[in-house]
Symmetry: C2
Subunit: 203 residues, 2 copies
DNA sequence: CAAATATAATGAACAGTGTTTAGTAAAGTC
DNA sequence: GACTTTACTAAACACTGTTCATTATATTTG
């Protein structure tokens, strides 16, 4: 059945094209301009057609979130490969913040947007890539604890501490709250804060 | 001129009424339902009338942010009065997170919404109450440093560290990311995390 | 090849959003 | 009572997500 195969393939291709245009709009014009109509125009189809390939807008945002995680993992690859667990955590933390500041639109979709999470509730899938990243951090924290290089005793708690701090930093910076209290609230301040956090946690 | 005074007073009263209805909608129906039309209907006026009292929606959100800070300061009053600076920081941190989790709509407006900040840029005013809160935290951190109860040497850095962590925690919880990695990601986990952070920072 | 059928795509509508403008109705002034 | 100022609103514009009946295309069947 070569014909049905071709149709299947064409269907997949259009789905991919829609996602690709969505990605372009997200990056170039921001999340506030990521509308079904804009996506449809970019893909040269009518808005209604989008709904033949995606249940709703949330499903598109969910797919973009997945893409974002792939990009982030790529960015953090070098950090993951550090042999020293403390250095690994420092590099992950720093890389995490840099990714967030350099890719604000991706970051919003991945860590702040409610849509992808609501989509998960509906489909009962899992926040796969996000969990993987966190679990890797937990494992690294466990290594640090095993090496007795921190006073914290629980790996999950330590990982959550790190995540909260970098997530908080990125969000404060992205929502312009950081520059409200610190004029030159740039990457310098963020680096200093991460270093300070690291010194607090590790011996 | 009693008439112009009355008219001035009536103008102020309607402005207050609009803000009050906006507050009610924010709390009861959430930020996604805080529309000019909903506010106008609640105040029993046409949508266009709102624009005679506020430049745009952002200005209303900005006023709501100010209200939110007043509420938060009230909530944190007890924490502010602790004589021991370390205890003060712990209580502020805990109170901050509790406020965020109990008042998600206020929290979004105060710390995540872009509107009030954009409004500030236009009007060149200041994020007054937010800055006051942060500066108080900085002063308390300085006390802790002076008492030599932490290894961190810079008060502003320490304050930012604390703020980032609690802000990150609240946001992870509010956007359902916390429960993605920790099933029972309730207030218990958050308390434990704050305690862990405090132990790391203070001797 | 033509007719019937299955599939794909869309135009138009619905209910909502923020915002502007022209016009009306009421209140105050002379 | 006539004029002017103020307060208010209906209607429109340009958007948003989403649905559904209709149309056009492609494939299968007679």
């Amino acid at each position: 059945m070569g014909i049905t195969e071709r149709r299947e393939r064409e269907k997949q291709e259009l789905r991919d094209k829609i996602l690709d245009k969505a990605r372009e709009i997200l990056i170039k014009e921001g999340q506030e301009n990521l509308s079904i109509r804009n996506i449809a125009t970019a893909a040269e189809y009518s808005p209604a057609t989008i709904y033949l390939y995606f249940k709703d807008k949330d499903e598109i945002v969910y797919e973009l979130m997945e893409m974002g995680f792939a990009l982030m993992v790529e960015d953090l690859q070098e950090a993951f490969e550090s042999s020293d667990p403390v250095e690994r955590i420092r590099k992950i933390g720093h890389g995490y913040v840099v990714f967030g500041l350099k890719n604000p639109e991706w970051y919003q979709v991945m860590f702040n947007a409610p849509q992808p999470i609501q989509h998960l509730e509906k489909c009962k899938e899992e926040w796969g890539r996000g969990i993987s990243l966190f679990e890797f951090l937990v494992e690294t924290c466990q290594e640090v604890i095993d090496q007795d290089r921190t006073t914290v005793r629980e790996a999950r708690l330590l990982a959550l501490h790190m995540w909260s701090t970098v997530h908080g930093l990125v969000n404060l910076a992205l929502t312009q709250r950081l520059e409200m209290v610190e004029q030159g609230g740039g990457p310098d301040l963020i680096s200093k804060t991460i270093d300070s956090v690291m010194r607090c946690i590790f011996k």
